[in-house]
Amino acid sequence: MHKSEHAWMIFSIVTLVVFLGIMGVAALHDDIAPPSHMQIIDPTKVAQTAPFDKPGLHQTGAHQYDDYVIAHIFSFQPSTITVPVGSTVTFYATSPDVVHGFFIPNTAVNLMVIPGWVSEETHTFRTAGTYLLLCNEYCGAGHHFMYGSVEVQ
């Protein structure tokens, strides 16, 4: 009985080490990190603060774009962008009111948009189609109307 107890303890610790090892390699070697942008912004002056005074898509290079998005109740501004296949888009999102989500299903773009902070994530759209963009954090009575799209042509 004592032996099995100890064997099981060792098994659980080995499990833990294996899990963390795999993730450690992904995090430290493959540089996979969660979105952790540290930029602040006055939530009461979003529309007057660059670059959110000119929200929308800005081309920064060949197949390279920045998209500055204001997430407010209950829509995204801009709600739809169109980019060519193979484009790499860096999304910057902030909120002038309450917490929103910025989520493009079937991609790894999944951000919390916090008033007072700018969230950032980059994604390369390799397949043509209409990508749904939606708010995945409850923001009020019209939360389910808050959606848009990324048109990849």
């Binding site: 659980s12 899990f19 540290m38 999944n110």
Partner: protein, 542 residues
Amino acid sequence: MDQAFVQRENRLIIAHIYFATIALMVGASFGLFQALSRASWLHLPSWFDYYRMLTAHGVLNALVFTTFFICGLATLMVYRAIPRNRSLTIGWLAFWVMAIGSAMAAVSILSGSASVLYTFYAPLKASPWFYIGATLLVVGTWIVLVDLTGNALWFGRNHPGERLPLVVHGSVTTFVMWFIATLGVAAEMLFFLIPWSLNLVPTVNVMFTRMLFWYFGHPLVYFWIMGAYLIWYNIVPRLYNGRVFSDSLTRLTFILLLLLSTPVGLHHEFMDPGISSDWKWVHTMTTYGVVIPSILTAFAVFASFELAAQRAGIKGFLATIAWLPWKNPAFSGPALGMLLFIFGGLGGVINASYAMDTIVHNTMWIVGHFHVTVGGPVALSFLGVSYWLIPRLTGRKLWAPGLALAQTYAWFVGMMIMSTAMHWAGILGSPRRTDEVSYFGSTTAAVWMPEMHWAAIGGSILFLSILMFVAVAAGTLFTPKTETDPIVFATVEPEALVTSPLLDRIGVWAVVAVVFAFLAYAGPVHDLIAAHPYGAPGMRTW
């Protein structure tokens, strides 16, 4: 017949269990409407909208039901393990503070002035009554801690040289962990949300309140799990003539949960700005630490099954499983809950990995995950063990035991269907906390709508199961008085290891737990303060 003081104690515990039952019943009926609304099978009127019901469902089921049941269970365990003619003033005081707080929060939600969901993320601005009510619920649990600790100290003074009874150790450790965790939400309420909702301060620091919330929010789920573990270790063996496999392993499990529950909360904020990915990685590692007490518990539970079966002359895995009392609802509830916990554990390991969490964060996957955990091992253990507790507490025969048995299996089937559909819908991208998820004919959304239909079917079965539980719980109050067995907890296997007295130093471990929490949060809190973030004025958006 029990002594008079035992009967007085029983009334206090019954009050907790039935208050929990009412909260479960009311909250679950809202859950049914949500499942039907998301399947587009029902359109909810604006005077009773989805988000108001979602808030009520979360607060009543995840916070009120669980808290009342665990407070009742831990109080019962400590009172029964330390029999004495004690004053119940402090026990009833805790009950009424919690009850009044819950009622305040419930009324403000149902009247529509607090549709902020059970996470109440600022700067959604609810009525102050909601925040004050929720705070009172927490304060009531602190009174329970004082009661439990007082009894444990009394035991130490009057039984020098004796080990703290196992159930007292588990109960007190659970509430010490809970106290350390609730300091976060209490600070969020008292220093941020309540003054702000009363318009005493103009703005709120959104990221700071989120961090305080999740400092509390993840240990909250371990509070539920520790309630289920108290049942699995100390009551379930009684149902198959079993014993607690190991005293030391049980105490170690609870101490590990005390240490590892708090320094993990940032894994709920992987997708947040303002927290460096380094700190998110630290909290990923600590979150995985909870794998150890979970696997230890799985081992201890099965070892207890096996040893009891061997004593009955049963050998072999399948024969042992078949031998267990599957026709006793007090066993089938917790045991089916353990089966559901396998899926809960697997999902939890995925959520805690921040790369995979990117795919599932704030999708229906998460909803599936916490339904198969708090609605699986936790709720099903609570309901199942109620069939054992209620007759013994009321001195009445269980009404309709066949219905009680069917309830546990119906719950299992309903939860399997609903949580599987929710998990799958989440992988397909369906967001959580959203009334209408068809997005006006979007082809992306069309893919997950069949899953929402399955979730509604599973949810309807679950609701039927809750009606069955309520019928048995209410019916038992009207059966004739009879001689019922006293409440006795499982004893430890005689060959078990001798426990190190170190594991009984709960106060010392509490200090270590606070140090761990400090180490895990000092960095991210410092970063937030150093960033000088702007406050947000907040508003009511519903």
